[in-house]
Amino acid sequence: MIRKRLLVLLLSLTLLSVALSSVGAQTTKAGDVTIEFIQWWAPELPAGSLRAIMDDFEAQNPGIKVKLISGPYSNTHDQIVTGAATGTLSDVVGLDGAWVNDLAKQGAITALDPLMAATNYDASQVAAIIKLNGKSYMFPVASFVYPVFINLDLFKAAGIAKLPTNRTEFLQDATKLTDKSKNQYGWVLPLSLQTPNGVQNDVMSWVWASGKSMLKDGKPDLTNPDVINTLKYIQSMYKKGLISPGSFAKQEQDKVEEFVNGRVGMMIDTLAHINMIRERNPKLNFAISALPAVDGYSGRRGLPYAAWGIGISESSQHKAEAWKLVSYLMSPEVNSKLVSIAHAFPGNVKAKPDFVATDPLFGKGFEIFQSGNLANEFVGLPVAEQLMRSFDEEIQLMLDGKQTAEKAAANAQAKWLKSF
């Protein structure tokens, strides 16, 4: 009886110790530092490519191991917020510019300036550092610009010879492309409220393309004539039935699906989707063009963009090692390699992706990128996603005929001022 009890006790202790030891089996050798890198990039890159870059880093930095934590984009944001709250956030953090203000306020991410100073880092090689109150928080590792995609077959069928360069031409082309009986429309506008970045990419981009702004001295200025005219322009297209129906529940992936299936003639979308579109519909004949500006505008055109940004957690125990990984990913050679496989534009001004020389569509995109300037005024704003959502609600009411463009802008302005 005693022997049986002793045996059971021994067995339970063995099981417990095995279970507990496997939990702490991260560091392989004594002295090795393991840093975690949370991001949404690995699933969007060719399988194993990000891991290969990490392996190269580990080879060049013996004693540091990198553990990749991958997940979808929206999930990553929630994980970072809760990870920061519980103190379990990964050392290196993949960031979107829209999150920086709130995460910095939460104390989740650390200012990078002391780390830059300690290693004499040349900040001028970084394309656009996201700063808040003078402190640097995020480097853009890869930028995805949002030009206009044109379905050339639909253009030919509608008898349009030239790609649109200003708003009037865009409106005329959309009118010629729209044929309700064939379920074909000129433009597609995703305004769903879950991920309301349609406001950033498909609405406000029109304002920035003409070199105008929605802010004044860092404060909201939505009631200025440029914003209101943009709203009226979109409203006119909606009223004329030129926009594919179902905008209020449409998300970015629905927009791309419709373009891939030849149901819309033009869409504003990220260059990152070029390969996906080619895969989904190899027969689709499409081109890239700059976003049209207001008639008569000849200055530099703002190009909306989304970036894969990188930062370091405030609660990280290995900030020096984390900084080594950040500067490695931002170095010209590695940055070129990463943006080449991601089909993005580099965060290091000295880097150049290889696809711009080999692929005509990307080459055109790079041209637009270099002749314009990156413009996304939501980057660095507080509660950026909520700002987009509250503006989205007003735009939906306007398109539904329940209020004028001026009222929509005024209501959004009032809501925004509460957050500033």
């Binding site: 917020v81 409220l193 529940a249 909520q386 959502r389």
Partner: protein, 306 residues
């Protein structure tokens, strides 16, 4: 004696009566510990958060009492979400019951052979087996303005032009309720089928002898026999449906313009979009209170049955 010296001393240390008294608690200890750590402690923390002025974003939160509750209860969006949640939940429960009962009675019919019943039961249960994400993807495709449902309805001449099922503020909540009814009826069907098969046949035979019609048999035998089950699953379904989040978030995100805003999406947006964790905790506590009041009746009903 069979006992060794060591065992005897252990037995003398703790009296037999004490051991008998604490034995049930030792058996329950693992579950109680798990529930305390994973449920009770988080609930207490959330209630504490709701009485502070913004936690997590604020390193030094101050106690503000019921201020957050007043703010949430006077928010028009909150009231809209309560209305939507109530409509969504009540309609779901009612139609779950009707559809589930109809399918259960179909499956229970004498003409259905046991093998056929088993196969059909598996097929009819499928909507319940899918996760919210899959259901959302399937129905977003089906109810797309250029999707299959609109095509069929137009071909049959039922509608004149494509309806924007999830994008129109007039139709969105009804489309969403329909999807939830589709996804949830199998739970009722399975429970009611089991209940139907437990109704003794003699009752029906006696009714036939008394000259009862089908409708009288249904209302006076079937329903009263099933009523304990119906009340139980209706209450459970009410509690679960009131807390719906994933289905609504994946299909409409609470839009267009709060037309499908429910308590779950309202709380989520407060926490992860506006970073107001205390307000979100307040909303969560209100949902907890509402769920607990229904749960209270559920537990009382279960106890009455015993």
């Amino acid at each position: 004696m069979a006992f060794s010296k060591k065992e005897r001393s252990l037995h003398l240390l703790i009296s037999f009566r004490t051991r008998r008294a604490i034995a049930p608690y030792l058996y329950q200890a693992p579950t109680i510990i798990l529930l305390t750590v994973l449920m009770l402690y988080p609930i207490i923390v959330v209630v504490r958060y709701s009485l502070m002025d913004n936690v997590i974003m604020n390193k030094h939160p101050a106690f503000v009492g019921l201020q957050n509750y007043i703010a949430v209860l006077s928010d028009a969006t909150f009231r809209a979400s309560v209305g939507n949640t109530l409509y969504f939940t009540v309609m779901s429960v009612i139609f779950h019951l009707m559809v589930g009962l109809a399918f259960a009675m179909l499956l229970n019919a004498k003409v259905v052979k046991p093998l056929v019943r088993s196969v059909l039961r598996v097929l009819y249960i499928m909507p319940w087996v899918f996760t919210a994400t899959i259901i959302a993807i399937i129905w977003r495709l089906l109810l797309n303005p250029s999707g299959v449902v609109n095509y069929i309805l137009q071909s049959m001449g039922i509608i004149g032009e494509n309806i924007e099922w999830f994008s129109s503020s007039a139709v969105a909540i009804h489309a969403l309720t329909f999807v939830n009814i589709w996804a949830g009826y199998p739970f009722y069907m399975v429970s009611l089928l089991a209940g139907l098969q437990g109704i003794p046949n003699d009752l029906y035979e006696a009714a036939i002898i008394d000259g009862a019609s089908e409708s009288q048999k249904f209302w006076h035998i079937t329903i009263p026999q099933l009523s304990p089950i119906i009340i139980s699953i209706a209450m459970l379904d009410f509690i679960w449906t009131m807390q719906v989040f994933s289905l609504v978030w994946m299909t409409t995100g609470g839009g267009p313009i709060h037309a499908t805003e429910v308590l779950g999406t309202y709380t989520y947006k407060l926490a992860f979009s506006t970073y107001q964790f205390s307000m979100a905790s307040t909303s969560a506590v209100i949902i907890l209170v509402l769920s607990m009041s229904v749960a209270f009746f559920y537990v009382r009903h279960q106890k009455a049955r015993d």
